[in-house]
Amino acid sequence: MAPLELEFDGLRRTYGTVKALDGLSFGVPAGQVFGFLGPNGAGKTTAMRALFGVTALEAGEIRWRSKPVDEAARRTFGYMPEDRGLYPAMALFDQVDYFARLHGMTASEADSAARHWIGRLGLAGRGRTRIDTLSHGNQQRAQLAVALVHKPELLVLDEPFSGLDPAGIDDMSAILAERAAAGVTVLFSSHQLDLVENICDAVAIIYQGRLVTSGTVAELRRGDQPRLAVRVGGDREAAWAEQVRGIGTIESVRPDGTAVISLTSSGDSQRVLDLARAAGPVEHFAFEDRSLSDVFREATGASVSQAEAEHAQRAMAGGR
């Protein structure tokens, strides 16, 4: 595993009675696309805002390359907050150029960088256009240009995929992958766990201000207990699978008769295959990965949507 470049260590923050961050710790490896996942209200935005010093922490520390994050470090970060925002009446080019200067670029560096990113994000020719007259999609691109223009070493995006159409999601994923390939560490948050599982190399999943689990997507989806999906022709109830007790447990039986079995050890898969073949013609036999929302449910006992509904109820009751 790549060395950790960004470390969140024991972050705590309370809003009234709500613990937004409750001892959150995880690390982000260098040069990867890292997903920061969890249902709405899990504390993702608070953690990201703390990284940029716009939310104070009650306890904990955030380290960049082993040193506490300070102003100088933040100038090498790019940020796209959840509440997107640019000066509505300012022209696109001026705006991107201004943020490049604020991050320490010289006038000429800022000029060429702004030109480059405006072109790269498909906004060429719109440099003189006011932000508030751009379409919603183009405003999103402008926001991304602002986050990218100063060649950040760490790119932090809060819910970058929310509100994007499928083509927009593909564009955004391509840019994140391209930045990571260029050596940039990319950290983005999302509450749509399954949507982003193909986009990230590794993820941290959080709930109620605490880490649920973290690791590479491949590891998490495989899990400690590999899952097998097996279907035997003519057995719609998967009665044959009763015999696997001892080497695995039946998680579910799908309507087409496919039994989903989690194994105690992956070495036992051949014994399951033998049992199935003895019962009849094997129509389907495959390892099956969990989705990230399955991982979340297994670890917390609640589905992502249940967790979000609870959060919304609490927010309504407590007035935040």
């Binding site: 805002r49 940029f52 010093g53 716009v54 939310t55 300070d70 102003e71 100088a72 933040r74 100038r75 970060f77 940020y79 907050p81 509440d83 997107r84 925002g85 640019l86 000066y87 509505p88 009446a89 300012m90 001026d94 201004y98 943020f99 200067r101 604020l102 991050h103 320490g104 602002v146």
Partner: protein
């Protein structure tokens, strides 16, 4: 590294304000309108009162022929037409002056009488008249004196009423505080609206990921302040140029001093109020709420401005207004008025300026705390009291 970069960051923020606002058509047009208004305000009275008009000058005395000659000659020398109006005695002369029938009365060999001696002194046709009449008296009384006329002996010019030190000076005072009031309110509101815009558009979070709140605030008031100062300087320049070009009495020594004192108080007043307006802007999440938080900040200015009219048209200011002249929130308007009305000596102006400067430092501290505590709080409008409590926490 951080402290070295602190000024450039603040300057980048200020620069954005100047470029974004200074480039707009609104700024160019308002500057032009203000300059034209000042030019007209200064030059119009002078233009209307001089040139081409026929002056009626009363004469009192036995030798009407000589007196009429002096009046006609004085008119010719000062480029006007002067017509002599014989009057029977001094009482009739005073009545004629008060009714406006004549603009001056030449009393044979004694004096030149006017309703009120102009603040600008006895220049122009009036000066010429008194000079010529004095000369004529000298020649008649002292044989051979014609050779000694180089001394320039003029008859005294007497006013029927005590020379009110300064209608011109008071008007200059009024002109000055109108500019102070307009610039502070207009640019103060722009500060508050600009900060409201940063909050409501949420761009503030992107900004604060690299800029410290204090840099953002100082940069904004600095940039907008420089624009205000540019406009003020343009207006003062127009005031002086138009005043001299039209020969307006508004630009004589005394009133020029008032304009300069006004300039000092524009800077001090802006410095005092700019941070307060910034704090007011930081309390709202929607720009439309800005008006309600800006009003309490503007209130001292509004009250003082309204009271100023009573001082300008009165003989002397009351004690309450005098006190306002030394309080930092009200001094920027009250002090120029008091000085223009001749109610305070210069050293008191200096004391008031020092008090305002000290108040500015205090206000900047309080306002910065409110701003820093409120700038990232979204949701409903925050009250000043709540903001101060947040700042203490």
């Amino acid at each position: 590294m951080t402290s070295q970069r602190s000024f450039p960051m603040t300057w980048l923020v200020a620069r954005r304000e100047i470029l974004q606002r200074g480039r707009t058509r609104v700024f160019a047009i308002t500057t032009l309108i203000l300059m034209v208004a000042v030019a007209l305000g200064v030059a119009l009275p002078a233009i209307l009162s001089s040139g081409g008009k026929t002056q009626h000058v009363g004469i009192v005395g036995a030798d009407t022929a000589t007196l009429s000659g002096i009046v006609a000659e004085a008119g010719r020398l000062s480029g006007e037409t002067a017509v002599a109006v014989p009057l029977p005695n001094l009482a009739a002369a005073e009545a004629a002056l008060r009714s406006g029938l004549v603009s001056a009365v030449l009393v044979e060999n004694t004096e030149v009488l006017v309703e009120q001696v102009p603040v600008s002194g006895t220049s122009g046709s009036l000066g010429t008249l008194s000079q010529l009449a004095g000369l004529s008296k000298l020649i008649q009384e002292v044989p051979g004196a014609a050779a000694a006329v180089g001394h320039g002996v003029a008859l005294p010019v007497r006013g029927l009423e005590a020379p009110s030190k300064s209608l011109a000076s008071r008007l200059t005072g009024l002109f000055t505080i109108v500019i102070v009031w307009v610039l502070i309110s207009v640019y103060g509101s722009q500060i508050a609206l600009g900060i409201g815009e940063e909050k409501s558009s949420r761009v503030v979070e992107v900004l604060l990921s690299t800029v410290r709140p204090i840099q953002l605030m100082v940069g904004k008031v600095l940039g907008i302040g420089l624009l205000a100062l540019t406009q003020a300087a343009a207006m003062v320049a127009v005031f002086i140029v138009a005043g001299f070009a039209s020969g307006s009495s508004l630009v004589h020594g005394e009133t020029l001093g008032i304009v300069l004192i006004g300039g000092v108080f524009i800077v001090l007043g802006y410095a005092f109020y700019c941070t307060a307006f910034a704090a007011a802007g930081s309390l709202v999440s929607r720009q439309s709420d800005v008006n309600s938080t800006v009003l309490p900040v503007q209130l001292p200015l509004i009250v003082t401005y309204a009271l100023s009219y009573t001082v300008i048209y009165a003989n002397s200011a009351n004690t309450f207004y005098h006190v306002l002249g030394f309080l930092p929130p009200t001094a920027p308007i009250a002090m120029p008025v008091l000085y223009a009305a001749g109610d305070v000596p210069l050293w008191q102006v200096v004391v008031a300026a020092a008090a305002t400067a000290a108040g500015t430092v205090w206000m900047a501290r309080v306002a910065t705390r409110i701003y820093t505590a409120s700038i990232l709080r979204t949701g409903p409008r925050i009250s000043f009291r709540q903001a101060l409590r947040n700042a203490q926490a």
